[in-house]
């Protein structure tokens, strides 16, 4: 069975000519199903760019990207949107919940774009909210929730379409120590249930939870540490 994600010699250049900036200079990375990978590195190292490419939000300037064995770097925007919808779940540092919609409607959003009917949508959204322990807050607006609750709502939204991989960009960056730990505990639980996780972070605690820690510096993978499961 092919690995879930396999990237080879991925490069990303912003701009052109003299002002061109190389954000990624040939990244090779393989991620299997069930992996819990932390991508670390200083600011400007290219780790966010890497995650955007892995998450199909951005396209690489060069190299190959096999998702579930299929080349995805040349797909149409429409196909990419479908893959983002069904195979990838995103969690952002600033939560990015739609402020005007209830928690339930926020979590339903990816299902809306999959064209799933209302009843089924609500059933699955409630299920995802139960999974993150937010079942009693579904009617609330995001601004009525604490930071940790917002991030859990965002995680429920990322999980609701049962994605192959959950990607998080600094998920604990806007949270205090205590709340951050709760989110990490949630990630650990998801990992134990077999969820593949890729997390971009500065947070050393995340690194201590992950099985693999990938260090990126200056657009290249500097080293990778593996921790026995």
């Amino acid at each position: 069975m092919a690995p879930l994600i396999s990237v080879e010699n991925i490069r990303k250049v912003y701009g052109a000519g003299d002002v061109a900036v190389e954000a990624l200079r040939g990244v090779n990375l393989t991620i299997d199903r069930g992996d819990y990978v932390a991508i670390m590195g200083p600011s400007g190292s290219g780790k966010s760019t890497l995650m955007h490419i892995l998450g199909l939000l951005d396209t690489p300037s060069g190299g190959t990207y096999l998702l579930d064995g299929d080349e995805v770097s040349n797909l149409s925007r429409r196909r990419l949107a479908h893959l983002r919808n069904r195979s990838i779940g995103f969690v952002f540092q600033s939560f990015n919940l739609l402020p005007r919609a209830s928690v339930l409607r926020n979590v339903e959003l990816p299902l809306l774009y999959s064209g799933i009917g209302r009843r089924e949508r609500q059933r699955r959204a409630r299920g995802a909210l139960e999974l993150v322990g937010l079942a009693d807050r579904i009617k609330h607006r995001p601004n009525e929730l604490s930071g940790g609750q917002r991030q859990r709502a965002a995680i429920a939204r990322a999980l609701v379409n049962d994605p192959a991989v959950l990607m998080a960009d600094e998920p604990t960056g806007n949270l205090d120590q205590q709340t951050g730990s709760e989110i990490l505990a949630l990630f650990n639980r998801l990992q134990q249930q077999g969820q593949t996780l890729i997390i971009v972070t500065h947070d050393q605690r995340v690194a201590s939870c992950a099985q693999r820690v990938v260090q990126i510096v200056d657009g290249r993978i500097l080293r990778e540490q593996k921790r026995a499961a």
Binding site: H52, G55, L57, D58, R77, R78, A81, H82, R84, N85, R86, F90, F92, N96, L98, R100, A101, L109, P110, L112, Y113, S114, G115, R157, N161
Partner: protein
């Protein structure tokens, strides 16, 4: 995402930004309101006009009157043959198809005496078909009949105003009426006819009918004209069908020209006058409509403007939606439907405003207003077209937004 969900998203957007939505739709609201108000006004006037024609004999009326030619040099022969005669009326009856009523008329002023009252009044000598022609009713007694015409009976029928002037509150039927030195007997009083183009107005457009003093044309000719004088003043005509008015008119003119050898008559044609009025009405309608459409276009530009102004504010939202798997098409449709929902709601408010405004103007100016379903369809339809056209550009921009760029936007 199906249509209902898109529309719901549109309403959520409106609910969350009442102020912005109101600003956005103000142009559309005013545009639709002005379209409704102007159309309501012209439709009201039009309906009033139609009613006026209906109540005064319909659209099939035509008439021939004496109109001496402008040239002064006429031969004695021509002068002798000039003017309409009873025989002309007979000839039209016999030779021209297309008229179902032909009524000869003589109208002259005489000294009239009823009891102690003596005044100069216009006497109209006609044939009984006039009753049907002008849709006259009888309030008391009876109208002139064919046998009155045949026997040349000295009988008269009065309009309601005339009856009051001459006899006060007494019943005139059976009373004598002296015209010149001939005594007629009043046999009927006509129903009062009232029509006004404006509301609460004292002006009665039908008043001339209430002032009629009618006698049979045969009686009048026998008693007031010399034995060789068969000149009449007018021939009233009613068409079988209003559509065939031009053919009938041509045949009529042809006949009279041959009989008189000279163009000494004029023809009035109500159907033609109505059509002319309609054409003028259409010009007004189009002008008003054009103003309304310009207002709607301005409203559309406002919509685009405000959507673009709020665009940066919503870039992050677009980025999130795309990250969660919205396709460009789905974002496009969402923005477009939002614009449509906003404009159609605006059109709804505009309709209500327009109707109230129209009723208000109608009351203030005492003009009758009317609403037709077409107006509502046109107003809402054009608002929807505006929403579609002017929502297109922001929608295209949103749909093309690169998710990474959109997400990074702070």
């Amino acid at each position: 995402m199906n249509a209902v969900q898109f529309v719901r998203e549109g309403f959520v957007e409106i609910r969350e930004h009442y102020g912005r939505t109101l600003l956005q739709t103000l142009g559309v609201i005013l545009g639709v309101a002005s379209v409704v108000a102007t159309l309501g006004m012209t439709a009201g006037m039009d309906a009033r006009r139609q009613q006026y024609f209906r109540e005064s004999g319909g659209t099939r009326l035509m008439g021939v009157y004496n109109q001496p030619p402008a040239e002064l040099e006429l031969t004695a022969r021509q002068r002798a043959r000039m003017g309409l005669t009873l025989e002309d009326a007979e000839a039209i009856r016999g030779a021209v198809d297309g008229f179902d009523l032909v009524v000869a008329e003589i109208a002259r002023t005489h000294k009239v005496r009823a009891g102690a009252t003596e005044v100069n009044l216009r006497i109209t000598a006609i044939e009984p078909g006039f009753e049907r022609m002008r849709d006259l009713g009888v309030a008391r007694g009876r109208f002139l009949g064919e046998h009155d015409l045949a026997t040349g009976a000295s009988v008269a029928v009065l309009g309601s105003t005339r009856a009051r002037e001459l006899y006060g509150s007494a019943n005139p039927v059976g009373k004598p009426l002296v015209v010149g030195d001939v005594t007629y007997t009043v046999i009927g009083v006509m129903t009062e006819k009232v029509f006004s183009f404006r509301r609460n107005s004292n002006h009665n457009a039908h008043e001339w009918m209430n002032r009629l003093l009618l006698v049979p044309i045969t009686s009048y000719a026998k008693r007031h004209l010399g034995p060789t004088d068969d000149r009449i003043d007018e021939i009233n005509l009613r068409l079988v069908s209003a559509e065939a008015h031009e053919e009938a008119r041509d045949a009529l003119e042809q006949l009279l020209r041959v009989r008189h050898g000279i163009d000494d008559f004029g023809v009035w044609d109500r159907h033609e006058r109505i059509e002319q009025g309609n054409r003028e009405g259409q010009v007004y309608n189009l002008t008003f409509l054009a103003c309304g459409i310009i207002a709607l276009l301005v409203g559309g530009i406002v919509i685009t403007n405000i959507m673009l102004a709020s665009f940066t504010e919503r870039m992050r939202e677009v980025g999130v939606r795309k990250a969660l798997g919205a396709t460009g098409w789905q974002v496009f449709v969402q923005f477009l439907v939002e614009a449509l929902v906003v404009t159609i709601c605006g059109a709804g408010v505009g309709l209500a405003t327009g109707v109230l405004f129209t009723l208000g103007i109608g009351r203030a100016l005492n003009v009758v207003m009317a609403f037709t379903p077409i107006m509502f369809v046109a107003a809402v339809g054009s608002a929807a077209v505006v929403g579609f056209l002017f929502g297109m550009y922001p929608a295209v921009r949103a749909s093309r937004l690169d998710p990474v760029v959109a997400l990074r936007y702070e």
